[in-house]
């Protein structure tokens, strides 16, 4: 439904004003903060599971794992609070802000758009379509590989965090149940790490698609996430 609306908007505005305000300031701020947090989380997380070579000297003179874990937790809070704020904005922001949290799965037209995009990426369509927000394919990917996964990462992450924070800590009260449900602490650690890899793999796709579309579909994507305005180049 949204994409249909996008289309109409694009059709209507595209030729006239050649630019539309899509991403409101909070969404843009969140996007970049979130990206930064994810980079920090992935790098520090990787080294928590597979630590760097042993540090020389006395233990009291070093705190490498401590700093790495601190960075991970700090970034995790930014990621989680950002995600919560972003979900809040999905309710109060413009309709683009809702895109990555809900799929119009009952809309046949939307599905045909998904397949259109699939064909486009498989080089079976010659001319791309223009969308104001995410294209339907991107929306589908974002929903599963970002939104759902991010919630999963927050749940598993804070469940692991609660182990160190201790019984009775808010993180334990809110997320401690995740551990027995998923089959124990070790399992949750492994799943959390696997989640990181999936998210990073998706990030690769996301960045590539953004750059490619920027060039190929002759509409702004990257700068849109900076200025908020989607520019249509023809």
């Amino acid at each position: 439904m949204l994409s249909q609306q996008d289309m109409l908007e694009a059709e209507r505005h595209g030729k006239q004003v050649r630019s539309i305000y899509v991403y409101e300031a909070p969404v843009r701020l969140w996007h970049w903060l979130n990206a930064l947090a994810m980079v920090v989380l992935a790098v520090t997380g990787y080294f928590i599971g597979t630590p760097l070579p042993t540090q020389p000297g006395e233990a009291s003179a070093n705190f490498l794992m401590g700093y790495i874990r601190f960075a991970h937790f700090a970034a995790a809070y930014i990621f989680a609070i950002g995600l919560a704020a972003r979900i809040y904005w999905a309710f109060v922001g413009n309709h683009h802000a809702r895109q990555i949290f809900m799929l119009p799965i009952s809309n046949k037209h939307w599905w045909s758009e998904v397949f259109f995009e699939l064909r486009w990426y498989l080089f079976l369509e010659k001319t791309p379509k223009k969308y104001v927000g995410h294209n339907p394919m991107a929306q589908l990917m974002m929903f599963f590989f970002f939104s759902v996964l991010a919630v999963g990462m927050v749940f598993t992450g804070f469940a692991i965090y609660s182990e160190g924070a201790g019984l009775g800590h808010w993180s334990d009260l809110a997320f401690g149940w995740v551990i027995p449900v998923l089959g124990g602490s070790m399992q949750v650690h492994n799943l959390h790490r696997l989640g990181m890899w999936i998210m990073m793999t998706f990030a690769l796709v996301h960045i590539y698609a953004a750059i490619r579309e920027d060039i190929m579909s002759r509409q702004s994507l990257i700068s849109t996430m900076i200025s908020g305005w989607r520019m249509f180049k023809d």
């Binding site: 540090q55 233990a59 490498l64 080089f123 160190g164 399992q187 492994n190 696997l194 999936i198 793999t201």
Partner: protein
């Protein structure tokens, strides 16, 4: 050897006079009137020790062995003075019918007032006949004995979670006690085996305070299983510093560095080893150079190698750990992106060339 509450008081220097005074005060405060005082006094003078029936299913007897290692209280004092270990096939004098008769007797005489301690677990496959006792499946004996119990203690990883016989593929369908007995309070005391003083600590807590200790989500006493090995590990300083043993018997091992990279499961294991330690506080696995294998965690046998930090995840018959899966996925996707980008560029070049030609044609 068989002291009653009264005798304990006397031993601690409290006179009979004060004892009776205590009884009448108790009677008044309970609103029973002074007439009840002698009754209370009689009860305290003669209160029998709580009978404990210790059953063994599929197990290895390591829990019993651990139990007798208790340094405080001494096992002999637990068995002879604190409780009445009326049935325990590992220690009892009787065998055969003389042993089984005890179960019936205690069940009748102490209905609702005895504790069942279970070591091991019942197998459910083959109609339960992978563990036969008295010609019958153990699971029947377990059900019957628990029916009139006050509470049940699940000793060790076997009774709490299933342990080694329940590791994949669990050929006997060994099943933890709480999945068979669902209508009684059950205290899980996991570990393979649990620490001796944890075992006697749980029992004496129940006898002293006449209540079940506070339990966590997995039915474990919070007092002993509330924190991870890692949280109280004396090598934690080396972990935070980033100082690890990298191989067996290397410099880091000899300096007592953190065993995280050797696969230590301390960060994912809830137990009291790092604070209470083992066998009267002599040592514990990490102190003796081997990482924790996570023996008090559910299904620890199926959580990958004891020597990997990022362990294998079994999925679709393929074994791989998060890193191998992740690197493979990222690599494949990266390659796909590169290919896709190349094709895109090619298509675009061709399209451009076409456009130029069109433009030329227009001209």
């Amino acid at each position: 050897m068989t002291e009653t509450f009264y005798e304990v008081l006397r031993r601690q220097g409290i006179t009979r006079r004060s004892f009776l005074k205590f009884c009448s005060l108790t009677a008044t405060s309970l609103g029973l009137g002074s007439a009840a005082a002698p009754r209370i006094a009689h009860a305290l003078e003669n209160k029998p020790r709580t009978p404990v029936l210790w059953l063994h299913g599929l197990e290895c007897t390591c829990c019993s062995e651990s139990f007798i290692r208790s340094a405080h209280p001494l096992t002999k004092d637990v068995v002879l003075s604190m409780l009445s270990l009326d049935y325990d096939d590992t220690l009892m004098a009787a065998a055969g019918h003389q042993a089984e008769a005890i179960l019936d007797e205690v069940k009748k005489k102490y209905k609702g007032n005895y504790i069942v301690a279970v070591e091991g677990n019942p197998p459910l496959n083959e109609d339960g006949m992978f563990c036969i006792q008295g010609g019958r499946p153990f699971v029947e004996k377990l059900r019957e004995t628990c029916a009139d119990a006050k509470a049940i203690i699940s000793w060790g990883a076997c009774a709490s979670y299933g342990c080694v016989q329940a590791a994949k593929p669990n050929p006997t369908r060994a099943t933890p006690v709480h999945k068979v007995i669902t209508d009684k309070p059950i205290i899980n005391v996991p570990g393979c085996p649990p620490i001796a003083e944890v075992m006697t600590g749980v029992v004496t807590y129940m006898l002293t305070f006449d209540r079940i200790p506070e339990l966590d989500r997995q039915g474990r006493p919070k007092m002993f299983y509330g924190q991870r090995i890692h949280d109280k590990c004396y090598r934690r300083g080396h972990f935070d510093a980033g100082q690890f043993a990298e191989a067996w018997d290397d410099e880091g091992s000899r300096k007592g560095y953190c065993l995280y990279k050797m696969g230590c499961k301390g960060p994912t294991t809830y137990n009291a080893c790092s604070s209470m330690r083992w066998n009267g506080g002599v040592s514990w696995p990490v102190q003796s150079g081997h990482g924790c294998i996570g023996c008090s965690e559910e299904g620890f046998w199926d959580k990958g190698s004891f020597y990997d930090r990022v362990t294998d995840i079994k999925a679709f018959g393929v074994e791989a750990n998060a890193d191998t899966i992740g690197k493979a996925a990222a690599g494949t996707v990266g390659a796909a992106i590169a290919a896709h980008a190349a094709v895109t560029a090619l298509a675009r070049a061709r399209q451009k060339a076409g456009e130029t030609e069109e433009q030329k044609g227009e001209k």
